[in-house]
Symmetry: C2
Subunit: 232 residues, 2 copies
Amino acid sequence: MNGQPPIRIGMVLFPKLTQLDLTGPYEVLNADPRTRIDLLWHRLEPIEAQGGLILTPSAAFEDYGRPDVLFVPGGPGVLDAMDDEALLDFIRGAAGHARYVTAVCTGSLVLAAAGLLAGRRATCHWSSIHLLELMGATPVNERVVEDGKFVSGGGVTSGIDFGLVLASRLLGEDAARRIQLLLEYDPAPPFEGGHPDTAPAETVDAVTGLMSDIIEKRRQAAERIARERLKL
Amino acid sequence: MNGQPPIRIGMVLFPKLTQLDLTGPYEVLNADPRTRIDLLWHRLEPIEAQGGLILTPSAAFEDYGRPDVLFVPGGPGVLDAMDDEALLDFIRGAAGHARYVTAVCTGSLVLAAAGLLAGRRATCHWSSIHLLELMGATPVNERVVEDGKFVSGGGVTSGIDFGLVLASRLLGEDAARRIQLLLEYDPAPPFEGGHPDTAPAETVDAVTGLMSDIIEKRRQAAERIARERLKL
């Protein structure tokens, strides 16, 4: 491609990530030949995503070098990732050099736990967006949030919108429009209520109930990390 | 879960599938504890999706038994899958017993090549939807198409809408609404033009140009299969 080196996109893996947080942006950002995506983990052994999908790393953190774009997905495994010091070290090192430091869903909690979002505007899955503030970030209830080199997407399916916004920054708007058409992204949700602002109260209550344990654990972790690591 | 056996969803893998065709519906349909999804291939060795993502089967065709829901993704690998007799045999056997026989994107070309869509209404990625007719199906330019037990989705990202429609059939509308909220599916495409009916002509021309070789190969395969295998 014009002799240019590829745009290196490094996507962090961890056990119990939500696979669509990652596979949505992966499909979008991989649709242009100018990018190269790697899946990164401590080791090359596969990890198991939430629900059982197996994902196989293409590089280990220590061998990968520097990405142009760093990406962190969310999911139940965020709770452990927020306290994985070697993973956080990799993220901090990569973030210092990357053109874009990005996350989808609760991946922004990992960036915040690494101390990268202090004073930054960011978004997160609706269930956990309030936790960003505990670690010094400014939560913004929008589907894609850009603050300088930091770009974040909301919950799970937001990763496709996020990916297209990021593609337009990296590759230009024309290329992003071609990707949107290639992926036939002309969504037609069968129901209203994909966000708690529009969903019926009983649906919000049911989903919040299912998530209450993990949200409480994340809250405790965020408070502890803010106090002990971030000194907030 | 109330002692009920899980709803068995069998998703067919093949090399060079488009991973988001599969990972979108996987996330949606896996979000309810009443389902169990397996990834199926001839053998248990991993396959490489279009663009390089590694996907690992959880069962081999001959060991899997019968799914309640059969699912086929699309992608460049469809061309080989349309002529993979052992894969087509598995699909035909599974389809005879399944409650739903489904596909996203060009996966419907595989179902058609297996002889399952004769006289049936179905959709496909916009670039290749016209090829369904060559194999006896009735192409319908909608994002999700239901014809009895046959349910199909359009290109790539349609798989999320498809997944939610199928979830409402399998699990009930309340459960599908909870999944939509859990996955924060409140899409906000950054551009218009995710479908050729609304995209600028130059974008449609650019994407069609990129795909012209594979579409021509698919056309030749569909004509040959219709003549030699389907006797149309």
